[in-house]
Structures are given as structure tokens and as C-alpha cells.
Assembly symmetry: C2
Homo-oligomer: 198 residues x 2
């Protein structure tokens, strides 16, 4: 557990953002939660946008670890499901970011650029993974380019927005929602599972 001041600020900001929404939290609220003077916080982070960018860097770092395929690993459906479950756990911990996504991206072009570069990379990796699964004989060939693109987009839509979708439905999302998200991934792949008929 890192306890340096920058990390403590990020941890406190994350808790407040998740609880109240980013729009309702100021840097003064964050300083107050840490019993820190606004000037001291300002010494570490000049504004809220900088804090949000640092939190997104954390998310991106956790994603990178979550989606790394260990060397000499045979691709398998359980491996993919573990990645999807890991993604939902990350999103649950940083839920403010996904809830307030449109707002945050509109407010900060630098964050928007980082998020979009990350998504473009992730979509490329998903495409790569699907092809790896096909090559390994786990999945049957997906079809033409449009079919592959549609599948990858659907997987990303579930990955990025499933928890927000449940969230906007009214109840704080639960472990059951996260489990259903993993099942949705599997449903999307089911028609392409080797030896499967719908």
C-alpha cells in the first residue's frame, strides 16, 4: 500500500468521486477529506483534471496487467473470462470514470486523447486475441472483416458500458451484474465456439 502524499490524494479523490460523482467534488473537498491545506494539495496537483488523468493512468496500468497474456499460454475461454471478470472488477473500483465518461472527456482534451488511444489499442488487441483463438482452434473463423469488427465492437461495448447500463437502471451494481457481464461475453462468442450449434 503506497502512502506517499500523491497516492493518498489519489485514493481520497477516488473515494469521493465514486461516492458523489466528479461534478460534485472540488479539490477543496479532497484536501478537507485528507485534513490537508488546499495549498498543500495544489503543490501536488494543480487542478481536478490532473487528478482525474492520474486516476485514468492507474486504470490503464491495471488494464495492462489484466489483459497481459503470459508467455507460452494456450488461449482458452476460461482465460478470456478471467480477463473480462478482471475488467469489471477494475471498473467497479473506478466506477466514477465510466459513469462520468462523456462529461470527463468533453472537459479535458488531454484525457480524451489518452482514453481514445487506449481504446484504439484495446480494440486492436481484442482483434488480435480473437484471431489467436481462431488459430488455436478454440473459435471457428468469424467471417469477413465486417463480421469480425462487429464482434469486437460488441465485446467492447459490453466491456465499457455494461456496468454503467446496470447502474443507470437504478441499483448500485452487484457481483451478480458482474457475473452476468462475463456471461454476456460468452454469449457473444457462443455462435463461434468450435463444435457448437446454436
Amino acid at each position: 500500500m503506497p502512502t506517499d502524499t500523491k497516492s493518498r490524494i489519489l485514493d481520497a479523490a477516488l473515494a469521493l468521486f465514486n461516492e458523489r460523482g466528479t461534478a460534485n467534488v472540488t479539490t477543496n473537498h479532497i484536501a478537507e477529506a485528507l485534513s490537508m491545506s488546499p495549498g498543500n494539495l495544489y503543490y501536488h496537483y494543480r487542478n481536478k483534471a490532473e487528478i482525474v488523468r492520474e486516476l485514468f493512468a492507474r486504470i490503464a496500468g491495471e488494464w495492462a496487467v489484466n489483459y497481459a497474456v503470459p508467455p507460452a499460454t494456450m488461449p482458452s475461454i476460461p482465460m478470456m473470462e478471467a480477463m473480462v471478470a478482471g475488467n469489471f472488477e477494475i471498473q467497479a473500483r473506478y466506477r466514477f470514470f465510466f459513469r462520468d465518461l462523456t462529461l470527463l472527456l468533453n472537459a479535458d482534451p488531454e484525457l480524451a486523447a489518452a482514453y481514445r488511444a487506449n481504446r484504439a489499442g484495446g480494440i486492436g488487441n481484442t482483434r488480435f486475441l480473437i484471431n489467436l483463438f481462431v488459430d488455436a482452434g478454440v473459435l471457428t473463423p468469424i467471417g469477413d472483416d465486417a463480421a469480425l469488427d462487429d464482434l469486437v465492437q460488441l465485446l467492447w461495448l459490453v466491456g465499457d458500458f455494461w456496468l454503467v447500463f446496470k447502474d443507470t437502471g437504478g441499483a448500485e451494481f452487484s457481483q451478480a451484474d458482474m457475473d452476468q457481464g462475463v456471461r454476456l461475453f460468452r454469449r457473444l462468442l457462443t455462435p463461434h465456439l468450435k463444435g457448437n450449434s446454436p
Copy 2:
């Protein structure tokens, strides 16, 4: 084209919300755009939340028309695709609402209740429509309750968040994105199309 004052206010608010995001538009901005005094606007709508609720009532009204099945109609895939395309057109016209959804629902419990009642009804209707398609022999039986629920949730996720997903990807969404959204619906149903093998 209605030209009464309440409608003019809603039209002006919609244009500004779509252009700048709801968080960046005040009732004074709306009055200004109409060369109207803030007092006159206030006479019709007491605050921004009331305007947003009225705009959501418009959306709900357009959805009701869009999803109505004419009497004695044989359910068909083209009929469903027309409904999906209609939904995306409605979302494109009221894009602020879907972009700012989390923010708007958190800010106004009355709006949240209306939105959630609408979604619950829509999910029920989708389930009903899918069963109608199965009965009409357009689709093969979907499977157990969990399979049907997963399919309905995926269809709603695409319906509610596909355009926002494209939007957060960086480019203003286009007709091509809306067409891809319709195609995604069809992809979700493809494994269940009668006589189809994946």
C-alpha cells in the same frame, strides 16, 4: 411545427444541450438564445431540470410511436430493423440525453424514476417481441430464461449505448455508425434465425 412558447423553449434548449452538454447550459443561456427575458422563461419552466424532464417526455413519446406494432402485422426482421434504425434517429436528435445520462439521472430523482419506468417497460416489450418472433417462426426458441434475458439485455445495451460508445470514441457519430448499430442488432439475432447455421 408547434410554435407556442413552451415548444420554442424546448427546441432552443435541445439545440444548446446537444451542442454544449447540459452541464454547460443555464436557463439564462436558453432565454438569451430566444431573445426572451429570464423572467418570461421562468414563467414557463421553473428550472433546467423541468426542461430536461419535458424533453425526456418527448423522447418517450417518439419511442412509443417508433415501437408500436401496427395491428395485424406479421413480425419480421425488416420490421425490427426499422424500429432499431428509428431508435437511433431519435437518439441522434436528442443526443445530449444519452451522453449525459448518468449525470442527469443523479441530479433529478423524478427524471430517474421516469427513465427507469420507461426502460423496464421497454425491456418487457422487447421480451414480448422476441417471443412473438419465436411464435411466428422467424426465430428459433432462444433457450432458458437466462438466455432470453441475456439476449434482451444485449439488445438494450446496443440500443441505449451504441451511439454514446461511438461518440466517446472521438468522432461525432455518423449515418454509418447508425447503420452499424442496426447491423449489430441483426448479429445478435443471427444465431437464432430460423434455418441459419453460424
